[in-house]
């Protein structure tokens, strides 16, 4: 750093404008005839200092505000008593909220404005000056404290007795390990997430059931009900019997659509996965897992409302836009003897967002 003073020819020692004498100014340039600080401008008196009437008025304003605050507090309490909400009607709740809140807001704002006005208009207005001292403690204190460390080191032998010191450090590093181990218990011991993520409730012969439609929720769907252009939000029929319904539902939700078979591009290995133009795709976005709930009928595109990934249903739900990479997994379906849509098997790949061991 020392050569910086010479590298900037105009720089001079800078003890006068800063606390610490001798602290390097770095590449700062300090002109030798810099403009000098003119000092505080003359004090200007406030109108309340000059005119006793105005001071009196300010005083009245302040105590009136404090009284208003009391009124606000009491008003809020009265509103609490006289605006019941027990009917559960929204307008009643709104009224109660409105008047309790108004009273409290009035109480708070009047205190605040009153106190600030008191401070600004009436309290002594002369500017004060505090002297700053360098943040660093003075030389003497620094020496005394380093002396303390030296004595402590000598008396304990911290640097001398290296074996004691190093074994202590080792012990201190090791002792949190059991605590961290305990955190394994955060999730069930007998489960493995990779296995769990690869299986859903879908299996051979599981019927596709409705996930919407009021009373019809849970009802299995016949192929004949699925008209061209319609969309069904679907869950496995056995979902209600599952142990963790939401966990299973989060993996098993499916969108069912019927397209004109001539619109469908079907690859060789998937030609048996649909039934007469009816296709079923996982509803869980392959990006971060939001439900891909929005359907654009004329383009056959599905849109994830979270991050706008778009999937083309007519082309095996491949990504056409947005941050997702993988197509939505397809659920192979067929029809059982009674005409209900059923799954041929589970999904052939894990549904939902990518994870490290997805391909394992």
């Amino acid at each position: 750093m020392a050569d910086e003073a010479t590298s900037n020819s105009k720089a001079v020692a800078n003890a006068h404008s800063h606390g610490e004498a001798g602290a390097s100014a770095g590449t700062a340039v300090i002109a030798s005839d810099a403009v000098q600080n003119p000092g505080l401008p003359p004090h200007r008196k406030r109108v309340t200092d000059l005119n006793p009437k105005r001071a009196k008025r300010a005083e009245r304003t302040v105590y009136t505000l404090f009284y208003i605050s009391v009124a606000g507090s009491l008003g809020s309490m009265l509103a609490y008593m006289f605006f019941p909400i027990e009917s559960g009607e929204l307008w009643q709740i709104r009224l109660s909220t409105l008047f309790i809140g108004l009273g409290m807001a009035l109480a708070l704002l009047a205190i605040g404005v009153g106190a600030v006005h008191w401070g600004k208009a009436l309290m002594a207005d002369h500017e004060s000056i505090d002297v700053r001292h360098p943040v660093a403690s003075d030389e003497e204190t620094r020496e005394a404290s380093s002396e303390i460390f030296k004595i402590a080191d000598e008396e304990s032998g911290f640097t001398r007795r290296t074996l004691v010191r190093n074994s202590l450090l080792g012990a201190l590093i090791a002792f949190p390990i059991p605590g961290i181990t305990l955190l394994r218990g955060l999730a069930p011991q007998d489960q493995d997430p990779v296995t769990l993520l690869k299986h859903t409730l879908w299996d051979k012969g599981v019927r596709l059931a409705r996930d919407h439609g009021g009373a019809a929720v849970g009802a299995p769907i016949r192929a004949a009900e699925v008209t061209i252009g319609s969309v069904f939000h679907v869950v496995p029929e056995n979902l209600a019997n599952a142990e963790d319904v939401l966990n299973e539902k989060a993996k098993a939700i499916v969108l069912l659509m019927r397209l004109d078979p001539s619109d469908l591009k079907v690859s060789e290995e998937r030609k048996d996965w649909s039934y007469d133009g009816i296709v079923a795709y996982s509803k869980v976005c392959t990006h971060v897992g939001c439900p891909v709930a929005l359907n654009e009928q004329h383009t056959h595109h599905l849109l994830c409302p979270c991050h706008q990934s778009q999937f083309d249903v007519s082309d095996e739900a491949k990504v056409v836009f947005g941050p997702a990479k993988r197509p939505l997994p397809q659920l192979p379906i067929t029809v059982d003897d009674e005409g209900y849509l059923v799954a041929q098997s589970d999904f052939h790949e894990p549904v939902g967002p990518s994870f490290w061991e997805r391909l394992k």
Partner: protein, 537 residues
């Protein structure tokens, strides 16, 4: 200390109740020392110093309203059926968390108001921290000796966002569940450990039945304890360093000019707490927020279009949206989700740069002096330009979170909005940098000209020779001081060291120094002003 003061107080005013109480307290706590030390401590005045106060006060409001909410909230995901008075939700299966949130809203008088106070105060808390950080950044208040306090404040910013997110997730409604689903997806994208991290976090598979209870512990115990600890540290440093002040006549690096804590700041700051609380109360009274009864309990299947996270999470959500399609690779049999990892790295890198900026600038300038006088942003053009670029970068990410709403409100194609924002994410900061830097340099030149020649009075005079001139009036020495009293840094000159070599670190620093200070406007000296005064028209 108390042995000296006690006889005095006893003899002088030992009769009144206050004096007796004060004496009682002091004899047991030595509080007199603290009063003597801090009672007349001087604080400078400026509106921008209130931003940090807003943050502190909204945090207190959060603590008060949050404590009320804990009296009724049940952090449990046990399935129950809502049986409260709100008809549309009657009998619907939901978690105890959601049901108790509905009860707070519909069955506890004033409960909805307190929920809204809590939520609005939380939004204001993060917003005021953000603005406070921008004030600190653009005025250079992070310079020595306040670098560590900047880092503490940065930690508070992160903690505040964590508090916000954990709180948002508690009611277990559709929106909060979808927020957690996104977090789950992000965690799962982490290489090697992601799958298990998510497994541990949710206590099994997503969503599980543990997450609300765990987030509740974080939200009402661990995170608030950390916030309080860091706020205490933050304020302790404000006391130790004494507050910075804007440049102005009479203000030096060795003084603080302002008003004493007792009585003026006690009245103004105390009053300001009530104003902040009152404004939050007013907003909470009139503006509904997070009406979970419209969304319904969490269910992995439904989601509505146009859902938005709380504003401070927007930058992260937006960054996720701005990743082009197909950023995922399968290497060595494992999945690398760059579409998540890249946003995490970009946001993480951005935040790290924010956290360490004071150290970078200190290294570039090599200035080891204490700085208690703030910079006017124009007087640090490169820093201000970097700040503007950072703000633009953040703003584009943030706009990304509303890409769908921008598209629907302005009837634009969603793809067009995303592509525009992707371009802006890179071009925007560059343009903002250069524009801001030029504006700063222009303003500096204007200041210099005013200091030297006075300001334009608007009076046009025709001279005898037919020439028209505008009369310039000189500024007062007080106004001039504000214009000329700033630090001027020259670019670092590269010189070989004693061995005749130029080490790489020095070359690097010289490069940075050139970038920072190559374009500079030198403040006028006394001599120039005297000369300028004679030349002025």
């Amino acid at each position: 200390m108390s042995t000296v003061t006690t006889p005095k107080t006893q003899s002088k005013s030992g009769s009144t109740f206050t004096a007796k109480a004060a004496s009682y307290l002091d004899e047991r706590t030595s509080i007199g020392v603290a009063v003597k030390e801090f009672g007349r401590k001087v604080f400078p005045d400026h509106w921008s110093f209130l931003l940090g106060e807003v943050a502190l006060y909204s945090f207190i409001v959060i603590l008060i309203s949050g404590t009320f909410l804990t009296l009724f909230f049940q952090a449990s995901m046990v399935e129950t059926h809502y049986d409260g008075p709100y008809v549309p939700m009657k009998g619907i299966e939901m978690s105890a968390a959601m049901a108790s949130t509905l009860d707070i809203s519909f069955s506890v008088r004033g409960g909805l108001l307190m929920r809204q106070v809590h939520h609005w105060a939380a939004l204001l808390f993060v917003a005021s921290i953000g603005l406070h950080m921008l004030r600190i950044f653009f005025t250079g208040a992070f310079r020595k000796p306040r670098e560590l306090n900047w880092v503490i404040g940065f930690v508070l910013f992160i903690l505040a966002m964590a508090e916000g997110f954990t709180g948002y997730s508690l009611p277990d409604d559709v929106l909060s569940g979808n927020g957690l689903r996104i977090i789950d997806g992000l965690i799962k994208a982490i290489p090697v450990i992601g799958t298990y991290l998510s497994f541990f976090f949710f206590g099994g598979e997503f969503p599980g039945t543990d997450i609300v209870g765990r987030l509740y512990m974080l939200h009402i115990m661990l995170l608030p304890a950390l916030v309080i600890l860091f706020v205490a540290l933050h304020l302790a440093f404000v006391v130790i360093h004494k507050h910075t002040q804007y440049p102005g006549p009479g203000k030096t690096q060795q003084n603080v000019v302002g008003y004493p804590v007792l009585p003026v700041y006690a009245a103004k700051a105390g009053g300001f707490f009530f104003i902040v609380f009152g404004v939050i109360m007013l907003i909470a009274t009139f503006v509904q927020i997070n009406p979970i009864w419209n969304y319904g309990p969490y269910d992995p299947s439904p989601v509505s279009a146009g859902t938005q996270p709380d504003w401070y999470i927007g930058f992260a959500d937006g960054m996720l949206r701005l990743i082009p399609p197909g950023w995922e690779t399968e290497w060595f049999g494992y999945t690398w989700s760059w579409n998540m990892l890249v946003p995490i790295i970009i946001m993480g890198g951005f935040l790290v740069l924010v956290a360490i900026y004071p150290f970078i600038e200190a290294w570039v300038t090599g200035d080891k002096r204490e700085h208690h006088i703030l910079d006017r942003p124009r007087n640090a053009p490169t820093r201000t330009a970097i700040g503007a670029a950072g703000v633009t970068f953040y703003a584009v990410m943030w706009a990304g979170a509303s890409s769908d709403l921008i598209a629907t409100h302005f009837q634009l194609a969603m793809e067009g909005v995303i592509h525009t924002l992707q371009a802006l994410l890179i071009l925007g900061p560059i343009v903002a940098y250069f524009v801001t830097k030029r504006i700063c340099l222009g303003l500096q030149k204007k200041d210099r000209s005013i200091a030297l020649h006075g300001y334009e009075s608007g009076r046009i005079v025709r001279l005898q020779g037919g020439e028209f001139i505008e009369v310039h009036k000189p500024v007062s020495e007080y106004e001039r001081w504000t214009l000329v009293s700033y630090h001027d840094y020259a670019p670092l000159m590269l010189r070989p060291n004693d061995d005749g070599k130029i080490p790489f670190s020095r070359r690097l620093r010289a490069g940075f120094s050139r970038w920072f200070f190559e374009n500079r406007v030198v403040p006028p000296t006394q001599g120039e002003i005297e000369q300028g005064g004679h030349d002025s028209h």
